[in-house]
C-alpha cells in the first residue's frame, strides 16, 4: 500500500514523495486529489516553519519537491485543472535597490502555491509598477527592498499607485530586510511579510484562498 503522500511530503522525503506520486498516477489516481494532498502537506510545512521546526531552506526545499510533483501531475491534468488558481501577483524590488534573492524566494513560493506571478525584477521604476497593475489588473502587489533606502522608494511607489487611481483595488505587501510595523505604516502598505511564507499567506488571504 502506498505511503501517505501528505505526511511524506510534510516530512520532506523527496525520493519517497516522487515515488508515491508516480505510483498513484500509474494506478489512475485523480491528479487533482494528488495536488490537494500536496496542498495539505504544504500547510503542515508552513505550520512547522512558523513554529521554527523548519527553516527557510526547508521551506524552499518543500517548494522544489512540490514543483516536481506538479511536473509529474501536469500531463494528466485537463487544461482547466492545470491553470494557476491563486490569481495574479506583481512583485519586484523597488527602484534604487538591486537585491534579488529574497524576492526570488517569494516569487518561487508564490508560484508553487498556484499564483500567476509577474516578476518585474530589480530596481523597478515606479511607473513600471503602475503600468503593470493597469495591464494585468493584478489585485496583489509585492514590493521588495533590502536596504533602508528602499523604504522611500516603497512609499513613493505606493503613492504613485494611489495617484493613478489603482490603490482601492490593489492590496500591497512589502518585504525584505528588517521591515517593521512602523516602516509598513510609513510606506502606506497594507501588510508586510517577514519571510516568504507570510508573503504566501497574505496573498492567499487577499485572494480568498483558505
Amino acid at each position: 500500500m502506498a505511503k501517505d503522500l501528505c505526511k511524506t511530503l510534510a516530512d520532506l522525503k523527496e525520493d519517497e514523495v516522487l515515488a508515491i506520486v508516480e505510483e498513484k498516477l500509474k494506478a489512475g489516481a485523480d491528479p487533482m486529489g494528488i495536488l490537494a494532498d500536496a496542498g495539505r502537506a504544504m500547510e503542515i510545512v508552513g505550520n512547522r516553519f512558523s513554529k521554527s521546526e523548519y527553516f527557510i531552506p526547508d521551506l524552499v526545499y518543500s517548494g522544489e519537491i512540490l514543483k516536481k510533483i506538479n511536473e509529474l501531475v501536469k500531463p494528466k491534468l485537463t487544461e482547466e485543472g492545470g491553470a494557476k488558481t491563486g490569481g495574479k501577483v506583481i512583485i519586484g524590488t523597488v527602484t534604487g535597490d538591486i537585491h534579488d534573492i529574497g524576492k526570488d524566494i517569494v516569487v518561487f513560493m508564490l508560484d508553487v502555491n498556484g499564483f500567476d506571478v509577474v516578476d518585474l525584477g530589480v530596481d523597478v521604476p515606479i511607473q513600471k509598477f503602475v503600468d503593470t497593475i493597469k495591464e494585468t489588473s493584478a489585485p496583489v502587489v509585492g514590493l521588495s527592498g533590502f536596504l533602508t533606502l528602499a523604504y522611500d522608494s516603497m512609499k513613493q511607489t505606493i503613492e504613485a499607485i494611489k495617484a493613478a487611481g489603482l490603490r482601492d483595488n490593489t492590496k500591497i505587501m512589502i518585504g525584505g530586510g528588517q521591515i517593521t510595523d512602523e516602516i509598513m505604516n510609513y510606506t502606506g502598505a497594507d501588510a508586510f511579510g517577514k519571510d516568504a511564507m507570510v508573503g504566501v499567506s497574505l496573498a492567499k488571504k487577499w485572494a480568498g484562498i483558505k
Partner: protein, 230 residues
C-alpha cells in the same frame, strides 16, 4: 594603492548555516547539509570567491565633535569616530569584496529555477564576506602592532554617528575602484557582496566582538543572523 588579494577564506559549514538563518544546527536536514557542502566545494573549484581588500591609511590631523580631519584635506563626517576613538592617530579606509562571480552564479541558479541552490550559495557569499572582514581586521591588527599601535574594531557607514551618506566618501578614500567596487546612483555597492569599513589605529583602541554587537542591536530578538542564538 594598497590591495590585499591573497586572503585565504577558511569557510566553515556553521558560518554558512548561520547565514541561512538556522538556529539549531542539529535539526538541519541532511539533504541541505549535503548541498551546502557541495556548494562550498564548488566555490573553491570554480573560483566563485575572489576575496580582495583595498585600503588606504590616513594620518589624522584634527578631531572635531562631528568630523575627523585627515592628512591631504579629506574629512570623515559624523560623531561616531571622534566619540569612540578620540585618541586615534590614523584611520584606515577599507573596502572588501568577494567579487562578482558568486552573485552571477546565484542569479543563474535563480533563473534556472534552482531556488534552493541560489539561496544557499547566496548565504555562502554572505558568510564569505563575514570571514573576509575578520581576516582583514586581523591584517590591520598586525599592521598596527608592527608600529607599536592597536587597531580598533571596524565601524561601518550606517552605524549611529557615521551617516550612510559617507559611503561614497569612504569608497573614494579606500580607492574601491581599484578592486572593481562601485556605488550605484542610489548608493548600493556593486558587487553586492562587498562591504566598507573604517578601522582606527592608536595607542589604545576600543574593540568589540560580533556577539557584543548583536547583544546591543535593537533587532537582536528577531534577527535571523544573530550569533547569540547559534
Amino acid at each position: 594603492m594598497p590591495v590585499i588579494n591573497d586572503i585565504r577564506l577558511n569557510l566553515k559549514k556553521n558560518d554558512v548555516l548561520r547565514r541561512q538563518g538556522f538556529k539549531g544546527y542539529t535539526r538541519i536536514r541532511p539533504e541541505i547539509k549535503t548541498l551546502v557542502l557541495e556548494l562550498l566545494e564548488s566555490t573553491e573549484s570554480t573560483r566563485l570567491l575572489e576575496p580582495t581588500t583595498a585600503y588606504e591609511f590616513y594620518p589624522i590631523t584634527g578631531m572635531e565633535p562631528d568630523r575627523v580631519l585627515l592628512q591631504g584635506g579629506a574629512v570623515v563626517n559624523g560623531s561616531l569616530l571622534p566619540s569612540t576613538f578620540p585618541d586615534a592617530k590614523e584611520l584606515a579606509a577599507i573596502v572588501c569584496t568577494i567579487g562578482p562571480g558568486l552573485e552571477k552564479q546565484v542569479t543563474e541558479y535563480s533563473r534556472g529555477g534552482e531556488t534552493l541552490r541560489a539561496m544557499l550559495l547566496d548565504g555562502i557569499g554572505s558568510a564569505a564576506v563575514d570571514i573576509l572582514v575578520q581576516e582583514t581586521c586581523r591584517f590591520f591588527s598586525g599592521e598596527a602592532s608592527k608600529r607599536g599601535l592597536q587597531a580598533s574594531s571596524p565601524v561601518n557607514p550606517g552605524m549611529p554617528g557615521l551617516p550612510i551618506t559617507e559611503q561614497r566618501n569612504l569608497l573614494e578614500l579606500a580607492h574601491a575602484g581599484d578592486i572593481g567596487v562601485s556605488l550605484t546612483s542610489s548608493g548600493v555597492m556593486v558587487p553586492r557582496k562587498s562591504t566598507s569599513m573604517i578601522i582606527a589605529t592608536g595607542p589604545e583602541m576600543k574593540t568589540w566582538t560580533q556577539a557584543e554587537i548583536c547583544a546591543r542591536c535593537n533587532l537582536r530578538e528577531t534577527c535571523p543572523y544573530t550569533v547569540l542564538r547559534s
